[in-house]
């Protein structure tokens, strides 16, 4: 046997983590064996505490410590604008710019039948529900400009247009401060396609 059984189990668990291959899993496992007991148990406790204490905000479906997340509870936030994102981490990115003052809605994925994900697997029902009791006037669809992101945006537009809400899609093209010379052709193509008059 290559590894003692508990070690093999630890490696197998670590390997399930995204971005962790067999080599990294082994390295992490050996590292964990070397650290003092209190550090290892701090990690284990942190994992369990996060699992137990965190839930999804009943409104925007973001990860939250409370029934309603801090953004949704913030009265200074503009209730008439809703930004729809695929993952909670996208909110983190958008919040970093300190500019967007509306609320969010997290879909928890994008439509991808290949992976068995249709509209029913996304938090779309919850989104529709919110439109009944929130004064939303504009929905900004901020999914990634991939085929799955675009198709999910298209689906939302079809679904929500009849309700009479303004639907917008984030722009894509050249990154700010980027150099044309080094941009890949897909980026340049969309920069030309979505050019605007000045």
């Amino acid at each position: 046997m290559l590894f003692a059984k508990p070690l093999a189990e630890l490696i197998a668990e670590l390997e399930k983590l995204p971005g962790v291959g067999p080599k990294s899993a082994q390295r992490l496992a050996y590292h964990l064996l070397r650290v003092p007991d209190h550090e290892a148990s701090a990690l284990a406790t942190a994992i369990m505490a996060a699992k137990e204490k965190l839930r999804f905000c009943h409104r925007c479906q973001n990860i939250s410590e409370f029934e309603e997340c801090e953004i949704c509870r913030d009265v200074r936030r503009d209730k008439t604008v809703m930004c729809v994102v695929a993952e909670p981490r996208d909110i983190v990115a958008l919040e970093r710019i300190n500019d967007y003052r509306g609320r969010y809605h997290v879909l928890h994925g994008l439509m991808s039948p290949v992976d068995g994900i249709g509209p029913e697997q996304l938090r779309i029902k919850e989104l529709i529900g919110r439109l009944h009791d929130e004064p939303v006037e504009e929905i900004i669809v901020a999914t990634n400009p991939t085929i799955e992101g675009d198709t999910t945006a298209l689906y939302l537009a079809k679904l929500l247009k009849p309700i009479g809400i303004k639907i917008t899609r984030i722009a894509h093209g050249m990154p700010s401060g980027g150099e044309l010379d080094y941009a890949d052709s897909a980026t340049l193509l969309s920069a030309i396609e979505y050019r605007r008059e000045m």
Binding site: P113, D150, L154, K158
Partner: protein, 354 residues
């Protein structure tokens, strides 16, 4: 124009540092000595693919941990590729790593003709689509983008079709994927049809010079679609579990005097048609770029009879600007090319001037 090729552990070559002539280069030598590896390296750097659809790992010399290839172009630009066994290939432009392998495409405009290309005339519709898709992707980054988006949307709709066999599926979900397919599919067809129209005229001209008797080569884009939308064929597609219409089912008809070369052409006619077609792609590149692309001819001379061989050499010498040809005997190239070519002998992974 490529001025220099450097290889490290690339196929037969442990190490190669070879200046390349501005005009014609003939690589002569016995089989399995490295002639094709030389062409393969140039092809890899221009398309990010190996010939004959081989896996990238086959670029690595037997027993080596990885390989690199670098071409220097006339303006001093370098295009390089590196592959380590078990890792992803990486390409570099002037030493800067490119985010995607596909970004290297078109940096060294190249047309390669080998016996493998006979599949364009003799093979399945998928062989002809592959030919078109590769040509157009290299010529137009916009085509590559539509093609990649179409392919992905097709996988997604097909997965949804299979899902719909067992349970009901939200029609809006279908519409989303279908809109993507129809949008990118229409663009693909527009590119393909325009390209084929141009190619047909160019190929007819080359073929007229090459053919042994007067005959007309033409190309026609062929689609089975009746004009129905994907929404209309949805129920049929659900029953079959796959998308039955669209550019992924289209074909190109290669016609000699109006009848399909695949069915009615002789071996000789088919071979000449393929060479005409490929040389026409070189002309199409030339029209678009203003300069002729690098022409690679892999072992195309040995199987031709002396008359056709002479005609091919005449056409190549009058139309190509830079070309690399492989053959067992340099004399096969004929005096048209031999008189102006740099002749290199390839033996056991080394190259020397003949």
């Amino acid at each position: 124009m490529v001025t220099h090729l450097t290889l490290l552990n690339f196929r037969n070559f442990e190490h190669l540092d070879q200046p390349i002539s501005a005009g014609f280069t003939i690589l002569a030598g016995e089989n399995a000595q490295g002639k094709t590896s030389f062409l393969e390296a140039l092809y890899w750097l221009s398309t990010a693919r190996l010939l004959r659809g081989q896996r990238d790992s086959e670029a690595v010399r037997h027993g080596a941990a990885g390989c690199t290839a670098q071409a220097t172009l006339e303006a001093g630009t370098t295009v390089a590729g590196a592959l380590e066994v078990g890792a992803r290939k990486k390409f570099f432009l002037n030493g800067a790593s490119l985010p995607r392998a596909a970004d290297i495409m078109g940096r060294i405009p190249t047309v390669c003709i080998s016996m493998f290309d006979l599949s364009i005339v003799q093979g399945d519709p998928s062989d002809r689509r592959l030919f078109l898709d590769l040509e157009l992707s290299a010529l137009y980054p916009a085509y590559l983008r539509h093609f990649a988006a179409y392919k992905r949307a097709l996988e997604q709709r097909n997965a949804l079709l299979k899902m719909a066999q067992d349970r009901s599926v939200d029609p809006y979900a279908f519409e989303g994927w279908e809109e993507q397919l129809e949008l990118h599919g229409a663009e693909m067809r527009r590119f393909r049809q325009e390209y084929l129209t141009a190619l047909s005229t160019l190929a007819a001209n080359v073929h007229a010079e090459m053919a042994s008797r007067e005959e007309v080569l033409s190309l026609r884009y062929f689609t089975k679609d009746s004009g129905a939308s994907l929404a209309q064929t949805r129920h049929l597609d659900i029953a079959r579990g796959s998308t039955q219409i669209g550019p992924h089912r289209d074909d190109v008809e290669v016609l000699i005097d109006g009848s399909e070369a695949r069915l009615f052409g002789s071996q000789g006619q088919q071979r000449t048609a393929v060479i005409s077609l490929k040389l026409a792609t070189m002309e199409a590149w030339k029209d678009l770029l203003g300069v002729a692309p690098l022409l690679l001819l892999d072992d195309m001379l040995s199987d031709l009879d002396p008359v056709r061989r002479a005609k091919l050499c005449a056409v190549v010498s009058s139309r190509a600007s830079q070309a690399v040809l492989t053959c067992t005997e340099a004399t096969a190239a004929g005096s048209d090319i031999l008189d102006i070519a740099q002749v290199l002998t390839v033996q056991n992974g080394t190259v020397r001037r003949a």
